[in-house]
Symmetry: C2
Subunit: 373 residues, 2 copies
């Protein structure tokens, strides 16, 4: 059986044909429906696990599985290497998503997870913000952490909110100053502030705040608690690792806190500092309760976004569906599929007998293992 491999070019073709705004709108719509219906589905989302190393820089490889009892499952493999942008001119996150047929175990599709991760993370913040924010117009958006995720946070929010201005801060001044250019297509002005103005300007004026930093584990929170504001919605996107937090505990305790994935957030997100009863509800609970939405809108609120495998699954399905519809992708038979399923050699072009009884056509050349490492 063939597996459909979507290249970066294929994803590019999908965006060109659909339009970036329209694609994001479609994803927001699909994710809103999917998470509204999530509790009614027979879904398995095992805890993500991975390999963590210092090699010599901090890095990790994680796999995020999701299956839904409708014949498919997905596995996102995601590498997180914060030294990539500066040292190697590569994104922090490099990722791919596999989609599997659960009747057979066959890999149906493999596609990019880097763009998908950025898109779905933005889309989830937009969906959550809409449920927890009183007004959709004249929004001042604060952004702390101006890397790749900031772009899709801003873009996604701009699809559901009328954003008047953005106030941005990053410890890396290149990142904060270049954000304006990177989101110029939204038409929203970006003002970059220095560290000393984060509390007095950025936090003071923001109606919605996105924190999307790659701060080191143990170094948070990003700022000290500040004088109470009656309303502020925060999308805390950066915390996704044990001991990595972005927000002050007292701010969390005063807020309506809604994680994307409660168990994961209690292990890796802002919720790791909270007791279970201090967490209000998860995103599915919030989508299904107008009363809870009203409670969230009445004060401070936090969307604790650790990254949900079900969002990856839905994003992967969306790209797979567009690619199928548009005839995109490269079909490759990856899994060996012997004509006799109980003879693992029967896919080989020559009878195994000839391999067994005659010398090899070519002697084994020495393989430099060093070259493959």
């Amino acid at each position: 059986m063939q597996s459909k491999i979507l290249s970066q070019k294929d994803i590019n073709s999908i965006v060109s044909q659909v339009g970036l705004n329209e694609l994001l709108d479609e994803l927001i719509s699909r994710l809103r429906t999917a998470f509204t219906e999530l509790s009614a589905k027979n879904v398995q989302i095992p805890t993500r696990t991975g390999i963590h190393y210092s090699n010599p820089d901090l890095g990790l490889l994680e796999w995020m599985p999701a299956s839904i009892d409708e014949g498919q499952a997905s596995l996102k493999i995601v590498g997180y290497h914060p030294s990539n942008p500066i040292k190697r001119d590569l994104p922090t996150i490099l990722s791919s998503i596999g989609i599997f047929d659960t009747q057979t175990g066959h890999l149906q599709c493999l596609l990019d997870g880097t763009f998908a991760t950025a898109l779905r993370t933005g889309a989830m913040s937009a969906i959550a913000s809409e449920l927890m924010t009183r007004s959709k117009s004249s929004i001042t958006l604060g952004v702390i952490g101006c890397g790749a995720q900031a772009v899709t946070q801003i873009h996604s929010l701009s699809r559901l909110f009328e954003i008047e201005r953005i106030i941005a801060y990053d410890t890396n001044s290149y990142a904060s100053k270049s954000l304006s250019d990177r989101v110029a297509f939204t038409g929203i002005q970006v003002e970059s502030v220095s560290e000393s103005n984060v509390v007095s300007t950025l936090l003071e004026k923001a109606d919605i705040l996105c924190t999307c930093t790659s701060a080191d584990p143990g170094s948070g929170p990003l700022f000290k608690d500040f004088a109470n504001k009656p309303h502020l919605h925060i999308n805390a996107v950066g915390s996704d690792f044990p001991t990595k937090i972005e927000l002050p505990i007292n701010l969390l305790r005063r807020s309506f806190v809604c994680p994307d994935f409660k168990e994961q957030a209690m292990a890796e997100g802002e919720c790791q500092k909270l007791l279970e009863h201090e967490i209000s509800t998860d995103i599915t609970g919030l989508l299904n309760s107008r009363a809870l939405q009203q409670t969230a809108k009445d004060g401070l609120s936090v969307f604790d976004s650790t990254g949900h495998a079900y969002a990856d699954y839905m994003t992967g399905l969306m790209f797979h569906a567009f690619a199928t519809d548009m005839g995109l992708g490269t079909e490759i038979e990856i899994e060996s599929e012997p004509p006799d399923p109980i003879d693992p050699y029967s896919f080989l072009s020559k009878p195994a007998a000839t391999c067994g009884s005659s010398p090899a056509k070519h002697a084994i050349r020495p393989i430099s293992t060093a070259s493959s490492r």
Copy 2:
């Protein structure tokens, strides 16, 4: 960056060029060295995890990670669907292996894991059998379970032992009767026996026994304990799931038991019935101790093979190295790699601005989600 995708045809080309025997000999040699040196390496092998379902047939998808502190990691994704051969003419195991660069998280190579799993499982049994068996000549090999794994068990053992005859049994008479044809290339005669002769003929005469069944969890053991024999080495290959066992507990207790991966074997293999002190040593311990090898040779011995992710890793590296050496594989840029690593849209061929300010070229066509499920 490009990822090298190896197709079934590429694997076929490697086998044609190297020779099937020579490839297996190379793998046996690489695995023997790798497992001898394993304890001295900085290796991470997290427990395999997965999704288990009845859809409606029993199935599971698991991922088996391995990393070694030399810049690479692997993840084998393996589907186990025992109804595949009869219902869908597909192998029970469909699998692929990803090889990753741990500097960046980049997917370097994706290749078949179905053939690789069968080969490495056979190779590991051959390596273990050599360490625990007194004689290499005039061997009678018993085989219970005549599916795909039986072929590579027999082939691998035939590379290190002079096998005189094979006595085989399977609950499926087609499987047991066809085994002779499937291993004809080895030149070894296969005699198939009925259930009533398993103990009296197969177990009585075997010097080495391979159990490689897909018996249902909870249904084992495959046979009752039998009158003591002074020497018998068993490769128990089928047990790889909680409550799935192949051997009687009393036989295990009389035997020198060596698992491939102790923690995994205690969770999923024959070792789940044993206390920790009843397990002699793992394969690395055995490779490094002539004294333990002698103890194993002096009586009954069991290699409890649950499937080791490090063997998958080494097998994946071998195929990757051959493919690179032979110029095989399809190079595809899967992970989106934006020229500006902090702008996830910068890989798109058109400036995002044009997407944002103009209507989509094509309206979104309705996507039938059913078609993608």
